[in-house]
Amino acid sequence: MSAELEKQIQELQQKIGKMEKGTKDQLSMVVFSGDLDKILAAMIISTGAAAYDMKVKLFFTFWAIAALRDPKKKVSGKTFMEKMFGMMLPKGSRKVKLSKMNMGGMGTSMIKGIMKKHKVASLPEMFTTAGELGVEINICEMSMNLMGFKKEEMIDYPHMNICGVATFLADASESKVQLFI
């Protein structure tokens, strides 16, 4: 084989290696909204993707973090403002509301009734399933601090990390699918 050809093959192999490393069969999603319907959509897509054998990495930021709070856990040492935020925002996934037609909570209870009737899993159930399937939840530290939440008040979830934007970017840049909800 000529040296020229050998060199070309080597270059091609390197390129293919890079391409294979570049995108994984992985889904990265920013979960920003703190509404019942939007988080439900995020969790259905996540568990579906995990069943589809994709690695799933969720980046919870801003309003969505409130849905990860465990209502049974109490933390001390919060400032006045942090306490206020904590009181104003939903305490856990059972308390989040619809983004539309909430009607003072009436719409939310109605949709929960309809979901039950249609055997759609509730948000807390979806989180349990996601945990079993290995869906990773990364919480944005900066927005968690802004909202006055502490990691000690988050639900017990098997694959949860506190991280920064670089983690999301690193995950997203090697994922085939990226979403923002």
Partner: protein, 83 residues
């Protein structure tokens, strides 16, 4: 395979996901596929319309062989052979 052939098929694993909504049947299938060996047949019962599209797509991705659908009155039976 034709519905007739499928009706005569004996499956190694039966997954009854009737009554659950998306993504219930898919999650049930994913959970159950680990219980059978390569080349064995799994049958999924679902009353969710979307499953009829989802399971063949999932099979294609996972390289399982999708064998076909038998329609019953209020649900469908989906058959696949594990890769």
């Amino acid at each position: 395979m034709t519905p007739e052939e499928l009706r005569n098929l004996t499956s190694n694993k039966l997954v009854d996901a009737r009554g659950t909504a998306c993504p219930g049947p898919l999650l049930a299938a994913k959970k159950a596929i680990g219980d059978i060996e390569s080349g064995e047949i799994m049958e999924i019962l679902s009353s969710d319309e979307g499953t009829k599209h989802d399971i063949p797509k999932w099979c294609e991705k996972m390289e399982h062989q999708f064998l076909g659908i038998v329609e019953e009155d209020s649900y469908s039976r989906l058959f696949l052979k594990k890769a």
